[in-house]
Symmetry: C2
Subunit: 345 residues, 2 copies
Amino acid sequence: MTTASRALSNADHPIAEETRQAVLDAARELGYRPNLVARSLRTDRTLTIGIVVENLLSPFNPLIMQGIQDVLDKHNYLSITINSYWDPDTEIAAIQTFRARQIDGILLVESCIRSSDEVFRLAGVPHVFVHRLFDSLASGSVVPDDRQGGRLAVHHLIGLGHRRIGFINGPEGWDASANRLRGYRDELTAAAIPFDDQLVLVGDWEVRSGYDAARTLISCDTRPTAVFAANDLMALGAIYAAQEAGLDVPGDLAVVGYDDRDMAGFVRPGITTVQMPCQEMGRRSAQLLVELIDGHGDRPAPILIPGKLVVRQSCGGSNEPWDFEPERASFTRVRRRSCPDSGQA
Amino acid sequence: MTTASRALSNADHPIAEETRQAVLDAARELGYRPNLVARSLRTDRTLTIGIVVENLLSPFNPLIMQGIQDVLDKHNYLSITINSYWDPDTEIAAIQTFRARQIDGILLVESCIRSSDEVFRLAGVPHVFVHRLFDSLASGSVVPDDRQGGRLAVHHLIGLGHRRIGFINGPEGWDASANRLRGYRDELTAAAIPFDDQLVLVGDWEVRSGYDAARTLISCDTRPTAVFAANDLMALGAIYAAQEAGLDVPGDLAVVGYDDRDMAGFVRPGITTVQMPCQEMGRRSAQLLVELIDGHGDRPAPILIPGKLVVRQSCGGSNEPWDFEPERASFTRVRRRSCPDSGQA
DNA sequence: GTGAAAGCGCTAACAT
DNA sequence: ATGTTAGCGCTTTCAC
């Protein structure tokens, strides 16, 4: 019994190679699989981490989850996911459930819980906030660097010769809005373009609000030649507004978005946009969590993940005409067709 | 100890109400939370089910997962998810991992494993296939009724007066392709329209293939007045092909798609399409699995979930002009803004 | 290098 | 209606 355990769990206990093999063979023979529940009870480690996610339907979260899973896999952790639907009570209940199940750590994706202490008090285990939307500068958070992203977008437009650049921001109160605005101003300053608050409007992240804002910008006394929208949905609305006004995009109005959702590659013109670094956020947060669990590393300052610009056609600046992008999940599609066992039904 | 257990686990054991309250109070006082790992070891039930999913990036899977979670929640199950990336070896490894963790049942979403016996042999627990792509008619599967969906699409076109209707199908070998074609033929027959195989082309599910197929159809001797594409991506390609050829959609060519992805509501014209009943598939499969675990119910014949038609603008037939659809996940967005604790950062 | 025995926290069987 | 005891399957002392 003891020896068997030692052979299989490859502890650092000394053991005769011969015996080890004998055990391994016997195990294979009998189809023996150790019972991890019993092991967990004994060792106080479940090799399971709990994930509280706002909602898998948000376009970012599946990518974040994928980044997380990739790293957890490597460390032999599995995860239990609970949807919070942005309800604080549900989040708290989830954390208690995790505690009862003795999970080793918690990842909170787009959580609305503000205090890290509260999580620790409830669960008593290490945890990391991923893509926090409001207190993004708190420690133990992994978040996108929206200020840098804003700069990227505006820098691109300035590089294409634009000097009168409108900005359709998200609502106030969101860190994303504040930071993207900072990036916008940074680049104007760097290019010695005076800030004009007539050119800055606020939307609500949805298509219609981008459309409305763009109509206002277009009918401005000196209308902008380019617009930076703080997300792709509003960028799309801006494109439609321009097209309805008889303006060519990008010829008469260049538009750059933010997020790089699927949709940005399917519409015409394809939307040039700043990619939200979801997978990388997922990876880094899982990495950090594992380190915290292992006792290395401490809760560091917030980790900002830079995005990158994806150039399509809505700003010009690329010689490529609009092209058909393959679906993002399609690397699997390709394999599907050649999947060993999947012939005719 | 025993009494405490009985009070908390609300077994059907008789117990004095007074004692029960005393235990509950004490538990609250001490912040006691039962250790579910220990309970599982003892009871041989983990209240956890394993989900093998092809890939969370596929547009259907987050919706399916949501349907699953909703039902599992009600039954106090939690789930562990493993991505298979459409690799049979990974799937098998996942099932073995689940077994080692003593999960109570398995859900296989878009699995490429063909035999139910194999799963049972590996895991020894009940399991259900969800959205099987190839052996969809095997028992213990919950799948979309693609034949009915195909009928829905074509019926809609015929109802609008079209009699010459092209069909851009998915590749051979996929159950979805075969069944949507059946639906197409069913409706032609019902309307006494002769089947013309010149009007049926095959794509590879991607945008470009829809574009190419539509160009062929458009340059046909007697070009169709409508096209049914077996997914939204190919429908989009068809729309672009028509527009490039100077045809108005829906005026000169009506297009109906399949799946109802996000994108279908964002492009112009919005794509009229058959909605893949993802949430319902998720719900039904979780429901079935729970019944199998509880010993009620047996592995039934495949369960076909009907889809429904979502009318937008690509076929006409609606008086509404193109409108701005709210993002699907946006019901949460609305709550976000009013989330109790999420003020300025 | 190997084995014997204890015990993780719970619940089920068996007293009382 | 409550308490006592054993044991789920593993790992970890501790002895040999």
